[in-house]
Symmetry: C2
Subunit: 543 residues, 2 copies
C-alpha cells in the first residue's frame, strides 16, 4: 500500500485496512503451518535474536482453553543489562531518518503478517480470545494500528522542513540565517502490556516510539508473552537484516512472583512509558512525572431511552457484553433504563419487559451452539471468575443467572462462564459504580432519561469511560447525549444494531480512548500520541 | 494576509511577518496619538468593557524610566465571580466553529495594531524596555506570535474531517456508520503573565486557548497590567461586536500584597494553565497535575572555541547580554572560554585577551551615546539591582565593573545599571551555575573545549536553557555541539555576528523554548501547544 494512500486514509477516517481481517482470505496452508509452529513452540525455550545467555528462565503462560501451562520459557535477563543495551541502541536508532525507520518498521509488519496464524493460536491460548478474535485483534488489527501510528508519525515528523534559509530585510541589507529543524527523540521507552490484548494494546506504543527514534523495552504481562514475542522476533530480524542492533526493541520478562515493572518505570534512563492495565498501577505510572500514555479501566454505559426495534437493540447489547466474556476494555457494563420503560413505534416496553428482552437475547445467543462458544471465548484467568462470583454472591436476589451450559466443542476444558445480569436501582450506586471486569453487567433502573444521562455523565467523569452506547430516536435527546458525554470526553455510539458493535474500534477511523477522562490519558491515534515522544529543536547558522 | 499564505509561512519557517516591526512604517500621527492615549490613561481607572462595579481598585505599576507610579487603577474583582463568568462564557464560545473563532480573533489583532504606539509606551513604562523593543515585542511580534498560534490552531483542529460515512464490506452486505469528529475544548484556561514581557509571553497562551474554544482568565503581573489590558479591551470589544460575552476573556487583577494566582490555579474549574515566570512558582504550577504550559528560567550559555573574527564575536556577545540589561529569557549568562584561548585565522586569542576583548566590546557599546541607553533600556524593578549587587559583592575581586556612566537623555531618572562581568574558573560552579537575572554575566575558564561542552550540556539538562550560542569554525566540533546540546533539548545558534542575535526568536520561524529541559515544558509554537488544549472525540451513528 502506498504511503500517500495511507496518509489520506488516516486523514479521511473512512474505512481502510492494509491487512485483511478474514482468515479465509489467506493461503489455506498458512493455518496448518501456523498451528504447527504453535505446537512446536510448546514446552520449549523461546530465544530471541537479541539473545544473551541466561541460565534462568521464566514461563507461566496457561491456556484458558486447555487450562494447562504452555511450557514456553523465556530467558530471565538483568534489568540493568537491558537498559544499558537500550541506551546504546538508542544512539544508533535515533540517527536514522524517519523514512528509513518507516521502511524497516513496515518490513517488520510484513514479516509478522506471514505468522498471523501462529500469532492467533498464541493469542488464543494466552488470552482466551476465540480463534477469530485472536486472529483479527493480534494480527491484522494490531498491524493496522501500528501502521496508523507510523503514518501519523511520518506526517508529524515532517511538519516542519528539515532546513531553510531565512532571510530578513534589515533596510540596507539582508540578514540571512540557515536554520534546521530536528525532532529529537526522548530516549528509551518502556511499553507495559496487558494479559487480554497482548499485541493490539502494545504495538501502538512500540511503533510510536520506534518511528520517532526512541528505543523500546517491552514488559509484557507474564501470562501473555508469546504473542508480542512474535512481533519482537520479527522486529529484531529486520533490524539485524539492516545491520542495526536488535536491542532497539527488547523484551523484558518477569514473573508474577518477581515483578520487575517498577524497576524499569522508575529508572532514570526510561523517558517514556506506555501502559495498558488496571487503574491503581496506571495512577502510579502517571504519578512518576514521566511522559506517559495510559489506558486504564473505565465503566462503559448504555443509555436506553427509545428505539425503533427493541429486540434488535437487545440482541446488540447482549452480544456486546458477551463478546470475549466482557473482557474487552470497550465492553459495556451498566445499562440504564428508565422506570417508565422504553418508547418504541410499537408502544412502551416496560422496564421489566426490557430486562426480560435483554435476558432473552442473551439466552438466545448462549443457546446457539454455533455462536455461544466463539462469542464468549474463555476467561483469561481464575481471578476474574472469583471476583465476578463474589459480586454475584453479594447480590444473589437481584442476579439473573441463566440456566444454560455453554460447551466449547473443541476444548471441553475451556474456562467458561455465561454472563450474569444484576438488576439494581439508580440509588444503589455502590453496587454498579465500580468496574466489574468480566462476564457481568448491571441493568440500572432510573427515574427518567435525565437521571440516566446525569449518572452516565458523572460516571464517565469520575470513573472514566472508553465507550458509551445510546438508544434514542429523539433528535434533541441524541444531541444532548452527544454534547453532555463529549463534554466529559467520552464518545457516543448511537442506535447500534446488526453488525455494528460498540466494542469495536477500527484503525484509521475510530479513536481508541479519548485521553480526557480517568480511563486513560492517551488516544490511538491522535497527534499527541506521536508528538509527546520527541522535542522539536531549531538550530541556526550564520551564513 | 490570506490564511493559506499564513499556513504555508508557518510550515515553511521562512521569514514572515504580518505586522510591520518598524515604527517608521506606520502613519506618523499614530505615535503622537499613542503617546497622548498613554498620557491620558495615567492617574485614571482602567475599566474594561466587561466591567462590573467595584469599589476597590488595585494599581501598583511604576515606570522604570520615571521611577514614579503610573497611577492607573484596575477594578478588584471577586475570583469566584470571574470563574463563574468564565464557565458561562465557555459554554457560548465552545459552540463556535474554529473558523468563526479565527475571524473574531484576527479582528482583535487588527484592532490592537491600531494601538501599537500606546502599547509601546505602556510596555516601556511598566517593563523598562526601550521604546523600540517595547514597540516591537509587545506589538507586531506579539501579534505575529498570536497569529502563528491561530494558524497552527486551525490546522490542527482540521486534522480530522468533521464527519464521514464509513462503509465496511461484510461479505454479503455493507456495514455503514456515520461518524463525526469533534475537538472538545477542556474548559477555562488561566494565563499567568510576567513583568518583563507582559504581552509577548502572554498572548500565545491566550490565543491558543481561544482558538481551541476555551475561555480565558488572564492574571497579569501586578506591575505590568496596562499592556495586556489593551489586548483584553480589544478582544472584549470584538466579542461584543459579535454578540458574544466579553467574559470569554477576562483580566484578574491582584496586588503584590494580596496575590490571587493560587486561588485560580487550584480552582477545579481551571483546566489549563499557561505560565511565564520564575522556577519555584513554575514547579508548583507543574505539580498541580493540570494541563499546563510553562516557561521558566534557565541558564543560557555561550561556547567559545574558535572564530573567524574575534572582535565581531565579542561585539555580538556584548550586545546580546546588554540588550534590555539581560532581562530577556533568551539572554546569554555564562560564557565558556578554554584556558588555551580561542583559535582565529590571526592566531590564538588568549583567555585573558578574550576577556579583555569582550570587556572592550561592552565598553564601546556603553560609551556610544546613541546606542547605550536604547540597548540597556531600564531595570524593571529594584529587586533585580539588589540581587545583582549582592552577587558582585560576594565576588568583588573577580568582577569587572566598567567605569562608564550611561545617561538616558530623555529620562534622567531611568533605573540603569551597566552590565558587570565576573571572571571565574570552571571548578567554581557554585558561582555561575545558577540563574542571575539582569545585567551580569560570567566568563568561565575551562580546561578545554570538551570541558566547556560538558558543563554547558549538564547545565542545560539540570538547570534548563532556552538558548545556546556557539563560536566554532571546526565542522566536527559544530556537529558535536549541535548533537550534544540537542540531546538535552537545547537549540544552538552558531557564529552569530552582525545583526543576528541569539536573544531573538522570530514568529513563524524560531521555536521559543523547546519544552524538553527544565526551562519550560512548552514551545511557541509546536502542535502540542495547541493539541493539549482539547480532546478529539469521535461519535458514531448507525445509518
Amino acid at each position: 500500500m502506498q504511503f500517500d494512500t495511507l496518509i489520506k486514509a488516516n486523514r479521511d477516517r473512512k474505512f481502510f485496512a492494509n491487512y485483511n481481517e478474514n482468515p479465509k482470505a489467506y493461503d489455506e496452508n498458512l493455518n496448518a503451518s501456523g498451528l504447527l509452529a504453535f505446537q512446536n513452540r510448546l514446552n520449549s525455550n523461546y530465544i530471541l535474536p537479541s539473545a544473551v545467555s541466561s541460565s534462568d528462565f521464566y514461563g507461566e503462560e496457561i491456556s484458558p482453553y486447555l487450562q494447562t501451562g504452555l511450557g514456553i520459557h523465556y530467558p530471565k535477563l538483568d534489568a540493568n543489562s537491558i537498559i544499558n543495551n537500550a541506551v546504546q541502541a538508542f544512539d544508533q536508532w535515533r540517527k536514522l531518518s524517519p523514512n528509513q525507520r518507516y521502511d524497516i518498521l513496515f518490513d517488520s509488519l510484513e514479516q509478522v503478517s506471514k505468522r498471523f496464524f501462529e500469532l492467533a493460536y498464541a493469542t488464543m491460548h494466552t488470552t482466551g480470545q476465540s480463534f477469530l478474535m485472536s486472529f483479527q485483534a493480534s494480527g491484522p488489527h494490531a498491524c493496522d494500528r501500528a501502521l496508523e501510528v507510523m503514518v501519523t508519525g511520518i506526517e508529524q515528523l515532517s511538519y516542519f522542513p528539515n532546513q531553510v534559509d531565512w532571510v530578513k530585510n534589515m533596510g540596507k541589507f539582508d540578514l540571512s540565517i540557515h536554520k534546521n529543524y530536528k525532532p529529537i527523540p526522548k530516549g528509551v521507552g518502556l511499553v507495559i502490556g496487558c494479559s487480554t490484548f497482548p499485541t493490539w494494546n502494545t504495538v501502538p506504543g512500540v511503533y510510536a516510539n520506534l518511528i520517532t527514534g526512541n528505543s523500546v523495552v517491552i514488559k509484557p504481562h507474564p501470562k501473555a508473552v508469546y504473542p508480542i514475542a512474535i512481533f519482537v522476533e520479527e522486529l529484531q530480524n529486520v533490524l539485524i537484516k539492516n545491520n542495526l542492533s536488535p536491542n532497539i526493541v527488547q523484551l523484558a520478562i518477569d514473573s508474577s512472583a518477581e515483578p520487575i515493572t517498577k524497576v524499569f518505570a522508575e529508572h532514570d534512563a526510561i523517558k517514556l512509558i506506555d501502559y495498558t492495565g488496571g487503574n491503581n498501577f496506571g495512577d502510579y505510572i502517571e504519578s512518576l512525572g514521566k511522559t506517559c500514555f495510559t489506558e486504564k479501566a473505565g465503566i462503559n454505559s448504555i443509555i436506553v431511552d427509545s428505539c425503533s426495534n427493541f429486540n434488535a437493540a437487545a440482541q446488540n447489547i447482549a452480544f456486546s457484553f458477551s463478546l470475549y466474556s466482557g473482557q474487552m476494555c470497550t465492553a459495556p457494563q451498566n445499562i440504564y433504563i428508565p422506570a417508565s420503560g422504553v418508547s418504541t413505534p410499537d408502544g412502551i416496553v416496560s422496564f421489566d419487559e426490557a430486562v426480560q428482552g435483554i435476558t432473552a437475547a442473551l439466552k438466545g445467543l448462549m443457546e446457539n451452539p454455533k455462536a455461544a462458544a466463539p462469542t464468549l471465548g474463555a476467561i483469561q484467568n481464575d481471578g476474574t471468575i472469583a471476583r465476578i462470583q463474589d459480586k454475584i454472591n453479594q447480590h444473589q436476589a437481584q442476579t439473573i443467572q441463566l440456566d444454560v451450559k455453554v460447551e466449547n466443542a473443541e476444548f471441553n476444558t475451556a474456562r467458561l462462564k455465561v454472563p450474569s445480569i444484576i438488576v439494581t436501582d439508580a440509588a444503589d450506586s455502590k453496587t454498579y459504580l465500580q468496574e466489574c471486569f468480566g462476564p457481568l453487567v448491571f441493568i440500572v433502573k432510573t427515574s427518567n432519561f435525565d437521571e440516566s444521562l446525569k449518572i452516565v455523565k458523572d460516571s464517565a467523569r469520575n470513573h472514566g469511560a472508553i465507550t458509551c452506547l445510546a438508544y434514542s430516536t429523539d433528535k434533541d435527546k441524541m444531541a444532548l447525549i452527544e454534547d453532555e458525554m463529549n463534554s466529559v470526553f467520552t464518545p457516543v455510539s448511537f442506535n447500534f444494531t446488526g453488525a455494528a458493535f460498540v466494542n469495536q474500534h477500527a484503525a484509521f477511523s475510530d479513536l481508541h480512548v479519548s485521553g480526557g477522562n480517568p480511563s486513560g490519558n492517551a488516544s490511538f491515534t491522535n497527534a499527541d500520541f506521536i508528538n509527546k515522544r520527541y522535542i522539536w529543536i531549531g538550530n541556526r547558522y550564520m551564513l
